[in-house]
């Protein structure tokens, strides 16, 4: 449906320097899927989205939507944003303050290439306003809407012309925490119902994991990893992805031995500062390479009596943080402090001894420079 190949976009900073915002970005979004560009600010995710929209002109690459090339540096094609027929929700919502709710939503139908009768416009606008539950506010001044309502109006305006592609630029970032969570479900429901192909930009990993079919994690203009939310979270391909998406413990060391695909124990052993750590299913590391073993806090097991099995160390509880639904433990193991998230039923006191177990299946080893 949407295919991006070898996209390079640069822009001039206010000081006149050229900023390399997107570097060799390529991905494909299948019909009806929600694809998220996730990364810290300045990683190039918004620039990539704006290049798809046509609001930025990339230096090189090709963008194709449903077989229609909207940008190609090689073929010299650049379709202006107003002729691409995509819907877009901006971070600031960009609700026009001089129009009321209805007028805002009707604008794309009035200015677009399709000629609609007054009645048709009315019908389409009211239908989309109903979908976002704003139909009762149609005649209200847009400036009197609350943040959440403005957000939904922006969505309605993007959807009203039944776009080939929906682009969302951090649409939830201006809402307060409670509303953001509610709108997350709302957005997911709408997208799944309408089965509209969507590209979503966010810096909030929880949002990305909750909404997406696929996620591309970006850093410094480049895509670091593309995968399903589960793949991104459970099998991060490098330290940046592991660190940016969720919390993690890194244990740095060198590879002592690699597992062999044929053997019973397909395990790689990493020599680290806390001792040898066995890691399951690592294919592309060689002995003597420096690697970081990433393990999520919820995968760091804690027990008061020594458990059976591998990857067990004795440690000491350094600090505890009670979070309500969970307790975060900081456990000192040798020279290292590991973070572990436990159910509040574990009541080991600060200063007491505790046993740490790492499930090799939950450990991911990745090369470090």
């Amino acid at each position: 449906m949407l295919t991006i190949e070898g996209l390079f976009t640069e822009y001039q900073s206010p000081r006149g320097e050229s900023v390399k915002a997107a570097q060799d970005v390529s991905f494909t979004v299948p019909e009806g899927r929600l694809f998220t560009l996730l990364g810290p600010s300045g990683c190039g995710k918004t620039t990539t989205l704006r290049s798809i929209a046509g609001l930025e002109r990339p230096r090189a690459g090709e963008i194709t939507v449903s077989g229609r090339v909207v940008f190609s540096s090689a073929k010299g094609i650049f379709i202006a944003p107003n002729r691409r027929g995509f819907g877009m929700v901006f971070q600031s919502y960009a609700i026009w303050p001089h129009m009321n709710v209805f007028q805002n939503a009707a604008f794309p139908l009035e200015v677009g290439k399709g000629r609609f009768s007054r009645a048709a416009i009315r019908e389409k606008v009211m239908r989309v306003l109903t979908a976002v539950q704003l139909d009762h506010l149609a005649e209200r001044e847009a400036t009197t809407l609350s943040g959440g309502q403005q957000q939904r109006l922006a969505l309605a305006r993007a959807l009203v012309m039944e776009p080939a592609l929906l682009l969302l630029d951090e649409p939830l970032s201006n809402l307060d925490a409670k509303l953001r969570e509610k709108m997350r479900f709302e957005l997911k429901r709408l997208q799944r119902e309408l089965r509209i192909t969507t590209v979503y930009v966010t810096h909030d990993q929880a949002e990305a994991l909750a909404l997406s079919h696929q996620i591309a994690v970006m850093n410094e203009g480049r895509i670091q990893q593309i995968g399903s939310p589960r793949e991104i979270y459970e099998r991060p391909s490098n330290t940046f992805v592991a660190d940016f998406v969720g919390n993690t413990n890194f244990i740095v060391g060198t590879v002592a031995s690699t597992g062999h695909a044929g053997s019973d124990l397909n395990r790689t052993v990493v020599k680290t500062e806390i001792g040898d750590v066995s890691v399951a299913g690592v294919e592309d590391v060689r002995p003597e390479e420096r690697v970081a073993v990433s393990v999520r806090p919820e995968d760091v097991g804690l027990t008061e009596i020594r458990p059976a099995g591998d990857n067990v160390w004795e440690g000491r509880v350094e600090q505890k943080v009670f979070l309500g639904e969970a307790v975060d433990f900081q456990v000192k193991v040798g020279p290292r402090t590991l973070l572990s998230r436990q159910h509040p039923t574990l009541r080991t006191k600060v200063g007491e001894a505790i046993f740490v177990q790492l499930d090799p299946e939950k450990c991911v080893a990745m090369r470090v420079a």
């Binding site: 001039q12 019909e31 009806g32 929209a53 046509g54 609001l55 449903s66 077989g67 229609r68 379709i79 202006a80 944003p81 107003n82 002729r83 691409r84 027929g85 995509f86 819907g87 877009m88 901006f90 971070q91 600031s92 919502y93 960009a94 026009w96 303050p97 001089h98 604008f107 794309p108 200015v111 677009g112 290439k113 399709g114 389409k124 239908r127 989309v128 979908a131 922006a154 305006r157 993007a158 959807l159 012309m161 039944e162 776009p163 080939a164 682009l167 119902e193 309408l194 089965r195 509209i196 192909t197």
Partner: protein, 586 residues
């Protein structure tokens, strides 16, 4: 909801339509509109300057002799001590006027912003009234008040105190400074009010908390922080004063006190007219104003270093003056008397006389409306009024629309060289009205495209002269429009011209309307730009006032003046009401 779901066909109707359209339709009106606006701006800004410089190196052209290249104009202009005197007088006049206006304006602004003087709000509203008084009428009214022969103040004081000689002589450098300084004091008041309002009072409060007393606070914090505003205000006033024409022409020339503007007028208005000499003077005047405008722009671009102007409105701390607040209130009253009541009163009085007479019981018995009848029966009065109205409405509309596109390019695009466009549109700022009129006159005398002597030449002059002001109003409104408001229109499928018409212009409306009102008022008041360009068919109201003055028809002039000021006043009221109605803040 089902129709909102993507259809099964690979392309939606939208896309097929876009593909089917001929390629040239995506050309849009964008480049046509932008091209026209840039061309108009460049033409208006560069032509007068270029021709003025060119003409200053030419001998006078007559039927027999063609003009040739010469330095003679500069030799004539700068080769004698007469010019040195001219320069010195101009500087004295401009410096005196700007300092006087600044002191008056700053004192009033400080009293209004930082003290608890009673009736401040009323005063602030009244302080805007003088802005509608055309300079020529203000000058004439002070002439009627303080001329040695007929000045009411002089005669009254002579009568009361038994003086031999009249105490005031308005036909002097001091008199010129007094009148022009008073006339520009509302401007100083507004500029300094903005500076005081924009200053975060916590700067002063933290100085107080550090143990500074009130004088230390004022000297070491308030003045240091408002310093850029003070210098900028002084420079702006200086440029305005050195450009002013009405006061030097009416008050200076009768007594042989010449400044650059009046010298230029004299050089053109003699036979044969010395256009080359006038140009040489004009170039010198341009150099002075350019330096002034350059320093003002330098100051305001560096202004961000000073935290004073944040654009945020602070709640100012007010000093309790105690009993002194009645004294400051009295100052307000006296000021209002000097700047509004007395000038308007004397015009009103003189308009009701058959021949000009000093107020007395005897004269009171001779009140008549004859002068109003004369004015209303004045030949071509309706055409003159229509000219004034058409010119001011036309120039205000053109200026605001053209500069809205210009400032869109400057603020919203990343087109290289857009700063040059900004400077180009601001260039006419350095032209005194008289010099601009002179340059445009020279150009269209030499390049005959049929506008010389028509109303179009005046429209061109007004649009050129007031373009920078329109640009300022539009720019300050444009920078507040979030770029996503425009981008979301593009994503909705709107073309550039649709976006501009349906999103940018409506959002720009506050600045657009405020600027439109301003340009309309300054162009309807204008005398100095028009005076070298008008012809019998294209007279405007201020020119008729000027002609009545030259003919010595004081009472008729006063009647016209009273009607003009009243009309302008109501025009401003209506404009402000419209502005408030349609969302102009302040």
């Amino acid at each position: 909801m089902s129709t909102l779901a993507p259809s099964d066909s690979p392309t939606s109707p939208l896309e097929t339509q876009a593909v089917d359209r001929p390629a040239d339709s995506r050309w849009d009106w964008k480049w046509v509109v932008i091209g026209i606006c840039v061309a108009v701006t460049a033409y208006l800004a560069l032509i007068p300057l270029g021709f003025l410089l060119w003409q200053s190196f030419r001998t006078p052209q007559t039927a027999a002799v063609d003009a040739v290249f010469t330095f003679q104009n500069y030799v004539a202009a700068y080769g004698n001590t007469e010019t040195l005197r001219l320069f010195w007088t101009s500087i004295q006049f401009a410096a005196g006027t700007s300092i006087f206006a600044f002191l008056v304006g700053t004192t009033l602004a400080w009293m209004n912003e930082r003290t608890n003087t009673p009736f401040k709000a009323l005063f602030f509203a009244l302080s805007l009234i003088p802005l509608v008084m055309p300079s020529i009428l203000f000058t004439i009214s002070w002439l009627l008040l303080a001329s040695p022969q007929i000045g009411i103040i002089n005669l009254v004081l002579q009568g009361w105190l038994g003086l031999e000689a009249p105490p005031f002589n308005i036909y002097s450098l001091a008199g010129m400074i007094w009148v022009d300084g008073l006339h520009y004091s509302p401007m100083a008041f507004l500029l300094m009010t903005a500076a005081f309002r924009g200053m975060d009072p916590s700067f002063e409060e933290s100085a107080t908390m550090s143990g500074a007393n009130i004088f230390q606070v004022v000297w070491r914090v308030t003045l240091r922080l408002t310093w850029p505003a003070i210098v900028a205000t002084l420079l702006i006033l200086f440029v305005r004063a050195i450009e002013s024409f009405e006061v030097p022409a009416l008050l200076g020339l009768p007594n042989g006190i010449e400044v650059f503007t009046s010298a230029i007028y004299q050089a053109v208005h003699r036979y044969p007219s010395l256009v080359g000499l006038a140009s040489a003077y004009a170039v010198a005047l341009l150099l002075i104003t350019t330096a002034g405008v350059y320093f003002v722009s330098r100051l305001s671009s560096r202004g961000s270093r000073y935290a004073t102007v944040t654009g945020k409105a602070f709640r100012p701390r007010q000093i309790d003056l105690g009993g002194w607040r009645w004294f400051t209130a009295a100052i307000f009253v006296v000021y209002f008397l000097l700047i509004v009541i007395l000038p308007f009163g004397v015009l009103l009085w003189s308009s009701l006389q058959r021949f000009y007479a000093v107020p007395s019981m005897e004269a009171l018995g001779n009140l008549t409306l004859d002068s109003y009848r004369f004015i209303l029966a004045y030949p071509d009065l309706s055409r003159t009024v229509l000219n004034s109205l058409m010119l001011s409405l036309g120039s205000a509309t053109i200026v605001m629309l053209v500069t809205s596109v210009i400032c869109w390019i400057v603020v919203k695009t990343k087109i290289p060289g857009r700063w040059a466009l900004d400077n180009l549109a601001s260039l006419p700022m350095v032209f005194p009205g008289l010099v601009l009129g002179l340059s445009i006159m020279i150009f269209y005398l030499n390049v005959d495209v049929g506008v010389y002597g028509t109303i179009w030449i005046m429209l061109i002059a007004y649009v050129t002269r007031f373009m920078p002001y329109g640009l300022r109003y539009n720019t300050s409104a444009m920078v507040q429009i979030h770029k996503e408001l425009e981008e979301s229109a593009a994503m909705s499928g709107a073309s550039w011209s649709t976006t501009f018409r349906r999103v940018i212009l409506p959002l720009l409306k506050p600045g657009l309307l405020a600027g439109w009102i301003y340009v309309m008022i300054v162009s309807i008041r204008d005398l100095s730009t028009s005076i070298l360009l008008y012809s019998p068919n294209t007279q405007v109201i201020s020119i008729v006032i000027w002609e009545l003055w030259e003919n010595g028809q004081y009472v008729e002039l006063s009647a016209l003046g009273v009607m003009f000021i009243t009309a302008l006043f109501f025009l401003v009221l209506v404009a402000q009401w419209l502005g408030r109605r349609y969302g102009v803040k302040d």
